[in-house]
């Protein structure tokens, strides 16, 4: 092939390649890829106002406010024999929400100023979780496991010790001595369906505390309880 024709051929091929490149600069399709992450989420808040009963003196110092962080302070009042009620009880509503199976644990410390074994101790403070409620739009139906024995004032959960005469909360996990370290109190499946956080519903359960007024050694007692919810 003559040299001039070879050059023409190269020139034309170059033009065609240029044209092809131009074509590649346009497209009839485009792509949008997307992803999203949903992490496990659990929370505990106040389920509402505290109910204090059987008290002589005392009162609710800092009350619970529904859907606000749980930070309740209660003065149980007089717990000696001058309080003639059978029990001083405090019911603290809890509200739990999660997008995963949850575990509610609790730990408690009881500190008394007395020096003898008659001072108020952790075993003298009854505890239990009441009826679990999963109601409202967006709340997932599910069966929860209450690891406590429920209302500590129930006759089945405590009695007077025939030997010592001291009232004892005897049922499983029915007093704060069982929660000297973080211990499971309640567990269950996913609480919330796919609804926004602005949905105020959730699982509610009352945390019930009780002290039987007795001839405790005089002094003051401080009870501190911490609830923790996790998604294992």
């Amino acid at each position: 092939m003559p040299r001039s024709k070879t050059l023409n051929l190269i020139f034309l091929i170059t033009l065609l390649m240029f044209s092809a490149v131009t074509c590649l600069g346009q497209s009839t399709t485009g792509t949008v890829s997307m992803s999203a992450t949903v992490s496990k989420f659990v929370e505990i808040n106040s389920g509402g106002a505290v109910t204090l009963a059987g008290n002589s003196g005392g009162g609710v110092t800092t009350d619970g406010v529904a859907n606000s962080p749980l930070a309740v302070s209660i003065n149980l009042g007089e717990l000696g024999p001058s309080n003639t009620n059978s029990f001083v009880t405090a019911s603290v509503p809890l509200k739990l929400r999660s997008n995963a199976a949850y575990v509610l644990s609790m730990s408690a410390t009881v500190t008394s100023s007395g020096a003898s074994s008659s001072k108020i101790g952790a075993a003298d403070v009854g505890f239990g979780l009441g009826t679990v409620s999963r109601t409202g739009v967006g709340v997932n139906a599910g069966a929860d496991t209450n690891a406590t024995s429920g209302d500590p004032t129930l006759a089945a959960n405590g009695s007077v010790n025939g030997t010592t005469g001291r009232y004892e909360f005897t049922a499983v996990r029915s007093n704060l001595n069982a929660f000297s370290s973080s211990t499971t109190a309640l567990s269950g499946p996913i609480i919330m369906n796919a609804v926004p956080r602005s949905n105020a519903n959730g699982l509610t359960v009352p945390a019930m505390f009780a002290v039987k007024p007795q001839f405790f050694e005089n002094g003051t007692t401080t009870i501190s309880v911490t609830f923790t919810v996790t998604a294992p």
Binding site: S19, V137, V195
Partner: protein, 223 residues
């Protein structure tokens, strides 16, 4: 002599083919319409090209959409540039988002709408006899049409759940004045594709989807 004929025939065929490809390319084109934006995200991002002469390749990471994200909504706006010298239509198809758990993120949980049609520069074609039609139900900003259903879950006027196969979302008359074979800075229209996801108590996990936007010849409407 015979070789010369074969050579010229081959060259002629290549020229015709190239001309045909060039004509097709300038007739219908989809590209980036500018830099996409994201708001309300926690740990999220969006990437794409700011140049309208680059291909439409956008990656959206909505980030955390559990209640850990306390923003009311995560919103992404993706500008899309369209060019054509003939009536067109745009279709979208989706793959992914097939979570078996109904409480996990579903296609219907991702709001999707088209908004804000505007000229891409002076060579964009303005037609008086036909309008660009955003097909029902996609003509909305899903951030503004989000509502809470009877089951407490957020729903939208239109979402990725509104897509069925290759779904036409937009059509109209020609978009460009010129017949340039090259993608230019100012020769078409831009539409905003808006995506939203409201943080909720979704079942935990990672969800993903891919959308393909395709422009093709549309209903024959006058300009």
């Amino acid at each position: 002599m015979r070789l010369r004929h074969v050579t010229y025939s081959l060259l002629l065929a290549l020229i015709v083919l190239a001309f045909a490809q060039t004509t097709f390319a300038q007739a219908l084109d989809i590209s980036s319409g500018g830099l996409p934006t994201i708001t309300g995200a926690v740990g999220g991002s969006v990437t794409g090209s700011a140049s309208v002469t680059n291909d439409l390749v956008v990656t959206i990471n909505f980030g955390e959409v559990s209640p850990l994200n306390t923003n009311s909504i995560v919103k992404v706006v993706v500008p899309i540039a369209l060019r054509s010298n003939q009536p067109y239509q745009v279709a979208v198809s989706m793959s992914g988002l097939n979570n078996a758990n109904t409480q996990a993120v579903q296609a219907s949980d991702v709001g999707f709408g088209l908004q804000n049609p505007r000229l891409l520069g002076g060579a964009g074609q303005v037609c008086n006899q036909s309008t660009h039609i955003i097909r029902t139900p996609f003509n909305n900003d899903p951030a503004l049409t989000a509502t809470i259903g009877s089951n407490g879950r957020v729903s939208y006027q239109s979402s990725l759940g509104s897509l069925s196969g290759s779904t036409i979302i937009l059509s109209g008359p020609e978009l460009s004045k010129n017949n340039s074979s090259k993608r230019q800075q100012s020769d078409g229209w831009i539409f905003d594709a808006v995506f939203t996801l409201t943080p909720q108590f979704f079942a935990s996990g990672i969800s993903s989807a891919t959308l393909i936007f395709t422009i093709s010849p549309g209903p024959n409407v006058p300009c």
